[in-house]
């Protein structure tokens, strides 16, 4: 029981990641693929932040009376990763806009038919 209590957080996060991953793989619509990618990444962020948590700790900003702080390092990493994520999202969406203009559709199976792309 203790084991479950200690780990349920990670398990749900894994489930979330896989939700995102599944959307990326199966989505036929490119926008949805990007959404899936974001869900996937966001879930990974939760994993990192979960690692950083210290029960009974406070946010890593020096406050009087607090002795136990959560680990600031994962926070820093995820700050970076979030920005990286939005950069990728922007590029992906820009590509989608162009694809729409070039092909008239953003459904993967439809433009696959139009070009014999490899």
């Amino acid at each position: 029981m203790n084991f479950i209590l200690d780990h349920y957080n990670y398990w749900i996060v894994v489930f979330l990641m896989m939700t995102g991953f599944y959307i990326v793989i199966t989505a036929n619509n490119l926008v949805k693929k990007i959404v899936g990618l974001n869900v996937f990444q966001t879930s990974v962020f939760i994993l990192y932040i979960s690692e950083a948590k210290v029960s009974g700790g406070t946010a890593p900003i020096v406050t009087e009376g607090a002795t136990l702080y959560s680990n600031p390092l994962p926070h820093v990493l995820i700050l970076t990763a979030i920005v990286v994520g939005v950069a990728v999202t922007a590029v992906g969406l820009a590509l989608i806009v162009r694809i729409k203009r070039a092909y008239g559709t953003v459904e993967e199976n439809e433009f696959k038919k139009m070009d014999d792309a490899i």
Partner: protein, 326 residues
């Protein structure tokens, strides 16, 4: 209590995620993603990661959703039925998930202060950074000083995204005649309110920018918020008006300048005899040097992020306007 909130939020996340899988209405999917991001931000707060929560709310729920909606305006909101089977993806996902679950079996208990993660590198940040850097916000200390190189990389990533979007979509031309459909002319209330709140938003952005050393916040959040203010302006008063205020060409320079500002701090410290980004060398007193360094690089970050986010929005907005005219 905290655990309970955590559990509830996670459950809501899971539901949102599942719903996204099955929804075909992309507009709803994007909105759900915004909700997902927002819930994540809540979880971050609950897990003591206030800076991250701030960023996630501004970037994930804010900018990302806006960009996705902009894309949807161009691509249509229905996902079509796909024909291919979903067994193989399921297997892949299942295996990946199983591997991860397997990995979690050996994980240290959630939130235990004795975990190795809290024992090795982090203690120095927590114990010494207030002395070495002189800032109460350890996240800012680590972000800007200990791992300043990462942050430089991150600014460059944002810059790279700008390059990508510009090369893909181009930017609106400055000084072009105003398109008839642009802006929300008929929404008088909106226009008044927008005028009212844009300046506080920018003020808030500046606060976040310069208060980041002490509380949550910093260059990223500030840049995004400032960009949001101008995005609001562009939405309400039309893209050409916004472009007239700050043109894409100028933004391009700003983005580059931000990166250069950041890097110049590094080169200056090299010139002073230290390593790249060694703020200790910037002033006679190392702590003061850290202060200067962090202040300037955060400014660089803020400038670049602001310029890039706004410019990306311009690029998308321009596409939407063009398609509206057609």
């Amino acid at each position: 209590m905290s655990d309970f909130i955590d559990l509830v939020l996670l459950a809501m996340l899971a539901l949102t995620g599942l719903r996204i899988i099955f929804l075909k209405d992309l507009f709803a999917v994007v909105m759900l993603f915004g909700i997902y991001s927002f819930l994540t931000a809540l979880i971050f707060i609950n897990l003591d990661a206030v800076d991250v929560a701030f960023t996630e709310a501004a970037v994930g729920a804010g900018i990302s959703s806006v960009l996705m909606l902009g894309t949807l305006a161009l691509t249509g909101r229905e996902e079509k039925e796909s024909s291919h089977s979903s067994i193989l993806p399921l297997i892949v996902v299942f295996i990946t998930g199983a591997a991860l679950i397997y990995g979690t079996l050996d994980m240290e208990p959630f939130g235990n202060p004795d975990n190795p993660i809290h024992k090795h590198v982090a203690p120095r940040y927590i114990e010494d950074s207030p002395k070495e850097i002189g800032l109460p916000n350890m996240v800012t200390s680590v972000l800007a000083s200990y791992r300043g190189f990462d942050t430089l990389g991150e600014v460059v990533v944002v810059f790279a995204a700008l390059i990508a979007v510009l090369s893909l979509l181009g930017v609106p031309k400055e000084g072009q005649e105003k398109a008839p459909a642009s802006g929300l002319k008929s929404h008088q209330v909106l226009r008044v309110v927008a005028k009212l709140i844009i300046s506080p938003i920018i003020l808030f952005a500046l606060y976040v920018q310069f208060h980041g050393d002490f509380g949550p916040g910093g260059g990223f959040q500030a840049g995004v918020i400032a960009a949001a203010a101008l995005i609001l302006y562009a939405l309400v008063f039309g893209l050409p008006n916004a472009v007239a205020v700050i043109g894409p060409r100028f933004l391009k320079f700003m983005a580059a300048a931000g990166v250069l500002l950041y890097a110049s701090v590094g080169f200056f410290s090299m010139y002073k005899g230290g390593n790249f980004l060694d703020y200790n060398k910037l002033a006679a007193d190392p702590v003061a040097g850290q202060h200067y360094g962090i202040l300037i690089i955060e400014l660089g970050v803020g400038i670049t992020v602001f310029a890039v986010m706004l410019n990306i929005y311009y690029a998308f907005g321009n596409q939407v306007e063009r398609s509206n005219i057609q």
